[in-house]
Symmetry: C2
Subunit: 502 residues, 2 copies
């Protein structure tokens, strides 16, 4: 009986998942290949497919089925997780009128191109009307879904990181502000700045591509189950655990692509590591945006900017660029890729300043959504915040408020997961070190040991566990931002030769 | 009232078209990029999306709507065409049980990989069981759809080229057999064979890619509305008239990619030329497979292997390959790309022998479907037919029955459209010459005049007209294979210096 009800629920799930995967493929294609003039028509297709997805998820029969089935199975079990995730999504969507849902899908499918054009022309006023419209949908959607008394921004935050509301985030970002802003000042004033001039130069694209593939493979990214392509902004997507796609971009600075690849490979390993029994179900995705980001940042920063990682691997990099790196030792290389320099662009930020870029976005999102700040005020507010936290002020909007695509996609509440991810990574790292000799494994080039640990403790569970449950499982305790702050202070205090306790 | 009914029908159409475009994107992605191990899971997605499409098209509400609306508008009108195409597809699908439809979609999504493996290993027995299964579905589907007394192969043929049944095709292929087989013999025995050794050699891939892009652009392929990528077998697909995709492959023989690109650009121009009011409707596709192929073959052969085309364009090719073509005049080049040589591989066949490759497939398809020939007999039957019509016999199945992907995809009844397309092209060419100075336009490099003619007379109509109606419109008469036979005999008689009337 239960079996038969689940089979019926599963047909709805299969259809919903297939449509989501199709939408993911359109998005991938759009970023990597689609011709420039395709946008308008393709956004119609995307709107219609989104409507199909909506129709399946809000079908009253599905609601009935999940009610019939409800609550009679053990927790943690896959079918339980799927039904409960379906129920959540069903409730979320049912609250939104179909026309608005489809209109928003069409709008965001086109808004990226408007944003890109505005950024190219450094003209925020071109983007403002679309942004206002996109933001309007997000607020309206949040209002439809808000529980009694629930703040709108908390509704949005919940979509990306369940249970992390403004109360927790105010605490988290407050700590970052009070600890990292003065620490950064000390680093810049008292620290010894390493030389990183050699990272910029004549690094031919074919060679960089060779490096990219070699690095992804070294990290365990399986090219029989994944691909690496080029896009303006590196990202990861997947159709299922045997079709995982990462991108990079090639710049004059060789570390730009290199660390993008390490970052995206971290996302990619997560997607490849999701259990076979989960892939192509609603539980066959990352647990949350923050956990996803914890995996990419763990590889990019904690592993990828450590001495132990480069000891066996740097010689292989140098064999690809023998002339460019002729006089650069492993130590010099590692110091260079850890150089701290407050900058204007989030995606080029170093490990220490990164979260401060997110802090700016968090505060502005709160203002837009909770205080109804008009979008027209964004450029100035953005510039002032950068001045306050990072000590530099963008001279043009393309280096400021126009730098990220996210808001054009309606992704409000998403940015905080980047900072949370970094903090989760540091906490997971502490837990991991109690179980395995991370540094030893890295020095021996046995990176598989680390990937295995993550696969067993995090990846394979997909969305059957929440980010909190995974954190507790992998580190032994609930979210604790201190690990992240201590990790940063210890690492950069040492690297920059700061005197302890000043 | 009518308006309101059509609006309702249109929501079904929009959904069906969006799903079809998603399936087209998966197919494209599969051929150009997807990782090797993705097949199994991706075929599940494709099966489910095909089921969605099926569900929309067989929805009883749609049937009722089309009946309510029925037959009250003028012919030729877009809405009329859409409703009547929807009705046909609805009837076709309603006759097939949903489980079988989805199972076939999953099967054919995987069968291509089995075929590729069997071909690589030159082992027909690996492919035979899948082929039998695929063929079984096609026969069953045909049986479901057959009208009283209708032959199964006619049902299949009708899907690709409406109104061209075995009676017409027996006549057509009979003419080809009786005229071209002996003519080919004369060409090979009495003709002067041109030298084409220089086409093979050191043609670096980057340079070939440069040539491919230059050529596609010269023909009018708009890279703001299309892309050119690489795949094992060149093909064309489109999402709509502003997203048209062609592929090529790079070989040691430079003419392989060059003529593939001209061929696929012909398909691409057709897709780009479909009217804006039709794109993303069910009438927004090529009129038939044969008409589609007429456009690609027109550009590849009639235009692309003519002296007039190369007069202005060959110097540009030579500027890309100055050393390789140093001693090759325009005339020598044109003669070389028209060299006739009976071979084993259809996709490498010259213009004269091409239709004989199709003749073999037509006769074998008839045998498989009308005479229930066991698939195990295919390799031997294939080899014997090649010996009879082309005078050469494949020594291995990878050069014989395993060379084409089509049957693995369930495309029985499709091959004849390749030969029909060539014949349509010759007939359209006759009509065109009465209206414009084709040779003069080509010599002046004004190829746009020709593309314009095709756009106005064929492309823009999409599927609002049948292949017959388009032929009559573009050439002034119904299908007449003599144009094709005379065109070939005249062209190759002259090129090979045959004495007239022997």
């Amino acid at each position: 009986m239960m079996e038969r009800i689940y089979e019926k629920i599963k047909t709805y799930m299969d259809r919903a998942v297939a449509l989501k995967r199709a939408l993911a493929l359109f998005e991938w294609d759009n970023e990597t290949l689609a011709p420039v003039k395709a946008g308008e028509e393709t956004s119609r297709i995307i709107g219609t497919l989104s409507g199909e997805y909506y129709g399946i998820m809000t079908d009253p029969c599905l609601k009935e089925l999940t009610e019939e089935w409800g609550g009679q199975m053990q927790e943690g079990e896959i079918r339980m997780a799927c039904v409960s995730l379906l129920r959540e999504e069903m409730e979320r969507l049912t609250a939104i009128p179909r026309e608005e849902y489809e209109a928003n899908a069409r709008l965001t499918a086109k808004a990226g191109a408007v944003w890109a054009e505005a950024r190219r022309k450094n003209d925020f006023s071109m983007f403002a009307p679309v942004l206002k419209e996109v933001l309007g949908y997000q607020k309206r959607f949040a209002r439809y879904q808000a529980k009694a008394g629930q703040k709108l921004y908390n509704v949005l935050l919940d979509q990306y990181e369940k249970g992390f509301d403004m109360e927790i985030l105010d605490g988290f970002f407050g700590r970052l502000k009070s600890e990292l802003v003065p620490f950064l000042k000390r680093v810049m004033e008292e620290g010894r700045q390493p030389d990183d001039a050699f990272l910029q130069g004549d690094y031919p694209e074919e060679k960089q591509e060779q490096l990219a593939r070699m690095t992804a493979e070294y990290l365990g990214f399986d090219f029989e189950r994944g691909v690496l392509e080029v896009s303006a902004h590196p990202f990861t997507t997947s159709l299922h655990n045997r079709d995982v796609r990462i991108t990079t971009h090639y710049k004059d600075r060789m570390d730009s692509s290199l660390f993008s690849v390490i970052h995206e490979a971290g996302h990619g390993l997560y997607e490849m590591g999701i259990g076979d029994e989960l892939t192509l179900t609603v539980a066959g995705e990352g647990a949350s945006m923050g956990i996803h980001e914890s995996q990419s940042r763990f590889f990019e920063n904690i592993i990828g900017r450590s001495m132990a990682f480069w000891k066996p691997f740097y010689p292989r990099v140098r064999s690809i660029f023998p002339e460019q790196l002729a006089n650069v030792t492993t130590e010099q290389f590692v110091r260079a890729v850890n150089r701290v320099e407050p900058g204007l662009i989030r995606t080029e930020a170093d490990e220490l300043t990164y979260s401060l870029h997110i802090l700016v976005r968090y505060e502005l999102e709160k203002a837009l959504i909770e205080e109804d700040m008009p979008v027209e005020l964004l450029p100035e507010a953005w510039a002032s915040q950068y001045e306050a936290y990072l000590g530099i002020r963008p001279q043009k909007d393309s280096d400021g408020v126009l730098q990220d695509i996210h808001w054009s996609q309606g992704s409000f509440g998403y940015f905080p997961s980047y900072a949370l991810g970094s903090a989760f990574a540091a906490q997971i790292y502490e837990g991991m070190k109690k179980k395995i000799d991370v540094e030893g494994a890295l020095e021996r080039g046995e990176i598989g040991v680390i990937a295995d640990y993550l696969q067993k403790n995090i990846h394979r569970y997909g969305r059957t566990k929440t980010s909190r449950q995974l954190l507790i499982q992998a580190s032994g305790e609930d979210f604790e931002p201190d690990y992240y702050i201590s990790y940063l202070k210890e690492k950069y205090g040492k690297l920059y030769g700061l005197k302890e306790d000043s």
